[in-house]
């Protein structure tokens, strides 16, 4: 059968179906957040927060055994603490927020590695960093689906102020629409999604599924809504392609998914309809008016 290589793995193996459902759930929620991170010029914040959750995960594993709940609660708590501390330091001292976050996440990352190495938790650092998408169990799947649902509902509720605050934070704050609150709520969603994604993709690769489709989105659409749609579709395609490559070529699934997202990103950059290299190279006659 010609289509067997495409559908066979998912039809035949339950672990592949689980991995697919988990990744599609992540693909619905994380890329829209990535689009806003890019528009807010915080592209690298995802990376920083991905590292920031590590000590929490490690501590959760040390105290609560290798349970999903303990590691998730630890990761979310660590991520939120770092976001709040970095925000407070930035507002209190005038240090730029990205610089402030960079400082905090480096400390957090070192702390996380130290805890994992010293604690004898039985946690494999490689698993923490790169994930084990093919070992996603029911609990993890439920967690990912819940986070995706919560994120989409939250984005629908805060869409208006989030777009306005991203474009012109001064205006919204002055008009009484709130400022810091939306920013913190948004970063909390980012933390939540990174923790959900880390079970499947690891702390390093989780950021890839959030940011790569988002950075590519601007080559596909000139509106925020269009970019969010493009990012979601890209992430879903990358998930399916990455899992298939991982299955057939026997490469780890996390990196395979992120590499697939990278290929799609490069495709948009080269030939997307909005401001891609191809658009700039092909000279078309200018219009009459």
């Amino acid at each position: 059968m010609l289509l067997d290589p495409l559908f066979g793995p998912f039809l035949e193996f339950a672990f592949m179906r689980r991995a697919l459902v988990g990744c599609l759930a992540l693909s619905l929620a994380a890329p829209p957040l990535g689009v806003f991170l890019v528009l807010r010029r915080l592209s690298l914040i995802g990376d920083a927060l991905g590292h920031a959750i590590l000590p929490g995960v490690a501590l959760g594993a040390t105290l609560g055994g290798l349970s999903l709940a303990a590691m998730s609660v630890g990761g979310i708590a660590a991520g939120l603490v770092i976001v709040l501390l970095a925000g407070l330091a930035a507002r209190g001292t005038g240090l730029r927020e990205d610089a402030s976050l960079a400082g905090f996440y480096l400390v957090a990352l070192a702390l996380g590695v130290a805890i994992v190495s010293a604690g004898g938790t039985g946690v494999d650092l490689m698993d923490l960093l790169f994930g084990a998408v093919l070992g996603v169990d029911d609990g993890a799947l439920l967690f990912m689906a819940s986070v995706a649902t919560l994120t989409l509902v939250a984005l629908a509720v805060m869409w208006r102020p989030l777009v306005a605050e991203t474009f012109d934070p001064g205006f919204l704050r002055h008009a009484g629409g709130g400022g810091a609150a939306w920013h913190l709520l948004f970063l909390a969603l980012v933390v939540l999604n990174l923790v959900a994604a880390f079970h499947a993709l690891g702390t390093l690769m989780a950021v890839g599924l959030m940011m790569l489709p988002a950075t590519g989105a601007r080559f596909w659409s000139g509106t925020v809504g269009g970019q969010v749609a493009a990012a979601v579709v890209t992430a879903m395609a990358a998930s399916v392609a990455g899992l298939l490559v991982s299955f057939h070529a026997d490469v780890p699934s996390g990196p395979a998914i992120v590499l697939a997202a990278g290929v799609l990103w490069a495709g948009g950059l080269l030939a997307g309809p909005q401001g891609s290299l191809l658009r700039r190279w092909i000279s078309r006659p200018h219009l009459a008016a």
Partner: protein, 249 residues
């Protein structure tokens, strides 16, 4: 207009930047429905003062009475708003933000509010620009767009910080028309400006600021050569190690 015009009264206002006074013991009143220009040399504290009036900067000493309105009832256009002009948003959606106080998070933006957006775009000379992405606008057109958003804000007090910098003559004339419209509607308008000819032609009242209020009143009485000289001297005087100010509050 929905709300009565408000007076803004400054009582011995000091605004500090890292303890140095940017605005020093200024008292006076922007009357209800007045149209006032704030002029003065660079570093005279003009931006600090309007930021304090709009609530964006902290008042170190003294107080500002806004005649019963809150700071969010003041429409405020900051100096060369540091906005990302490549942001993927249409002109219509930028102007729509002016409805924020009316629609907030959830309220529907119906036909009436949409018409208001179209009319505001037409009023600033951007009729038919609704669907255009802001990335396609020139600097002057972008400033027109921000004025359209302020039209929708419908605030009793309007504060503009150097609204005509880097703007061509035609755009400036059109936007001055919008300012006159606000004035004729009884709103209190305050604008930070540099061009004294422009101020003489279009602004009945002027505050000449050089950290302290050098003169405040009818424009022709304020913009005199003697006052200008005093303002320049005040602005140039800057002590290296000043002690704490002992002037009584």
């Amino acid at each position: 207009m929905s709300r009565a015009a408000a007076a803004i009264t400054l009582a011995n206002v000091t605004v500090a930047y890292d303890r140095h006074p940017a605005v020093h013991h200024v008292s006076g009143r922007f009357g209800p429905g007045s149209l006032t220009a704030i002029v003065g040399p660079n570093g005279a504290g003009k931006t600090s003062l309007v930021r304090a009036i709009t609530g964006a900067a902290r008042v170190e000493e003294g107080r500002i009475d806004r005649g019963g309105i809150s700071t969010s009832d003041i429409a405020y256009l900051p100096q060369q708003a540091a906005l990302d002009r490549s942001f993927p948003i249409t002109c219509r959606d930028v102007v729509m933000m002016g409805h924020w106080r009316r629609v907030g998070l959830f309220r529907r933006i119906g036909g009436g509010l949409r018409n208001a957006v179209r009319e505001a775009l037409e009023a600033v000379g951007l009729g038919g620009f609704g669907d255009r992405p802001i990335a396609s606008l020139s600097a002057g057109q972008f400033q027109r767009l921000l004025f359209a958003r302020m039209l929708l804000e419908d605030c009793p007090v309007v504060v503009l910080d150097e609204p005509f910098t880097a703007i061509d003559a035609k755009t400036m004339a059109d936007l001055l028309g919008v300012v006159s419209r606000w004035h004729s509607e009884g709103r209190t308008v305050i604008a930070v400006l540099h061009d004294h000819e422009l101020v003489r032609a279009h602004f009945p009242e002027t505050l000449l600021l050089a950290r302290e209020a050098i003169a405040w009143g009818r424009t022709e009485a304020v913009l005199t050569p003697a006052n200008a000289l005093r303002a320049r001297r005040m602005a140039e005087a800057w002590a290296e190690h000043p002690g704490a100010c002992a002037r009584a509050a």
